[in-house]
């Protein structure tokens, strides 16, 4: 059955290649390894991440889609549910609420939704979490915007 994950990934890749491009997400698999993906997502408008392009690294295991892909931010991001140093993402659908109904692209969309809706409970970034939990959205937004301006790309990468 381990072949099935490759089959599924090829289907996902084919769909991405044949569908009209997503305005907010660009993604592709490593040429030599269909289990290694890179994705770029555009920070949602009206959030401190607007205008930034964020890189994600996706690693897909043999048992995908029965188990979730491992996804993390490569670009540093200041957000309660993203570990600032490791890029680890705390998102239910990538853990206990994962189901094969999600695709890699769908999971990227869920990460975009997470950027727009930070969750203060069980934060991976304590500083960001404290600001959001205390209701100090102004402080959170200004720090997040600062990092966005400094660390996120402004353009899609040339080779994507």
């Amino acid at each position: 059955m381990s072949l099935t994950s490759a089959k599924r990934l090829r289907k996902e890749m084919h769909k991405l290649q044949t569908s009209p491009p997503d305005e907010d997400i660009r993604m592709s698999a490593d040429e030599d390894d269909i289990r290694q993906w890179r994705a770029y997502i555009r920070g949602p408008p009206d959030t401190p991440f607007a205008g930034g392009i964020y890189e994600l690294k996706i690693t897909v295991g043999q048992q995908y889609p029965m188990v979730p892909p491992c996804m993390r931010f490569v670009t540093k991001v200041f957000h309660p549910n993203v570990h600032f140093n490791t890029g680890e993402i705390c998102l239910n659908i990538l853990k206990k609420d994962w189901s094969p109904a999600w695709s890699l692209q769908g999971a990227c969309r869920a990460i975009l939704a997470l950027l727009a809706h930070p969750e203060a409970d069980s934060p991976l970034n304590c500083d960001a979490g404290n600001m959001v939990r205390a209701g100090d959205m102004r402080a959170f937004r200004s720090v997040a915007r600062l990092y966005n301006e400094e660390l996120a790309s402004k353009d899609w990468p040339a080779d994507f």
């Binding site: 089959k7 491992c70 600032f84 853990k95 109904a101 970034n125």
Partner: protein
């Protein structure tokens, strides 16, 4: 997105290993990440034990085999219930308690019943072949309905195809093969079990107005299905049972062995309650389902 503390489903080892929580020393977020990691590890350990000791689908055994479990149990309803079941059921088949037990018990019981009918002669055979083709049609039509609800075809395709292939293979299958297929750890039957979750989801969403009043903590069927129906390992309540059995139009009878005292027969329920004969009988014990075999079904 709700909190991440309650880790009930088994995430991958890669996930557990990924929360390394290095660098930022006495950071409470790191503590939390570590707690999460520990919960995940504990859960993984429990799951590993279940996997090592319990086959996904056990062998048939006598109903009385349950009696030792209730030795000295303060609720007399358990032993009395097992004795009552022993009079009406010839056998029991235990199914792994991994959160998928309802779906797996139901599906296995249903397909086994169909296979038995197919192996018979005369009316029983005709009836089973008709039922199989009816089921195949329902499964066949379900993919388009799910896509119309917004699910991605790429996500459904392999599961849907596997289900149809398994149904098509049924008429030529030996009796013991079904058991072997269902026991395979990452085998095609896992795909079918998950697709049953999607059949459930689809039906609940299409009939949200009817089912929402049964849900206590949510007013959003989409959200409920995403959290409580679609992920593997999420246990099911009556609403999911109704969703699946109504979608397939396959009644299931459930005997409730919950320790409560009773007079006459143990309490049971048939869903959906249309008066039609149940295709599958399951035994419910708090938090778990197994398959039961009625005496007449021998």
């Amino acid at each position: 997105m709700s909190e991440e503390k309650d880790t009930t489903a088994p995430p991958t080892a890669a996930d557990a290993a990924s929360s390394t929580g290095e660098a930022a020393a006495a950071d409470s977020s790191v503590d939390l990440a570590k707690q999460n990691e520990q919960t995940v590890e504990q859960q993984n350990a429990i799951n590993a034990t279940i996997k090592a000791t319990q086959p996904k689908v056990g062998a048939k055994e006598e109903v009385d085999a349950l009696l030792p479990e209730y030795e000295g149990n303060p609720k007399p309803g358990f032993r009395k219930g097992v004795q009552d079941l022993g009079k009406r059921y010839s056998a029991l088949r235990r199914v792994r308690g991994d959160g998928n037990c309802f779906y797996r018990s139901f599906l296995f019981g249903y397909l086994e019943r169909l296979l038995q009918g197919i192996k018979s002669v005369g009316d029983a055979n005709t009836k089973a072949m008709l039922e199989l083709s009816r089921l195949r049609q329902v499964v066949h039509d379900s993919k388009a309905a799910l896509i119309a609800l917004g699910y991605e075809e790429v996500a459904l395709d392999d599961f849907w195809q596997t289900f149809l292939q398994e149904l098509d293979a049924l008429p030529n299958m030996e009796m013991g093969q079904l058991e072997i297929n269902f026991r395979e750890e990452a085998g095609p039957c896992e795909y079918i079990v998950w697709y049953c979750r999607m059949l459930t989801s689809g039906f609940l969403k299409l009939n949200a107005d009817r089912f929402l009043p049964f849900l206590e903590h949510t007013v959003d069927m989409q959200d409920f299905c995403q959290r409580e129906v679609e992920p593997m390992g999420k246990e099911c309540e009556q609403i999911q049972i109704m969703g699946l059995c109504e979608h397939l139009n396959t009644p299931v009878k459930i005997e409730y062995l919950d320790g409560q005292d009773f007079s006459g027969q143990l309490g049971s329920i048939t869903l959906p309650d249309t008066g039609a004969e149940a295709m599958v009988t399951l035994l419910y014990r708090p938090g778990h389902y197994d398959v039961l075999y009625p005496m007449t079904n021998q």
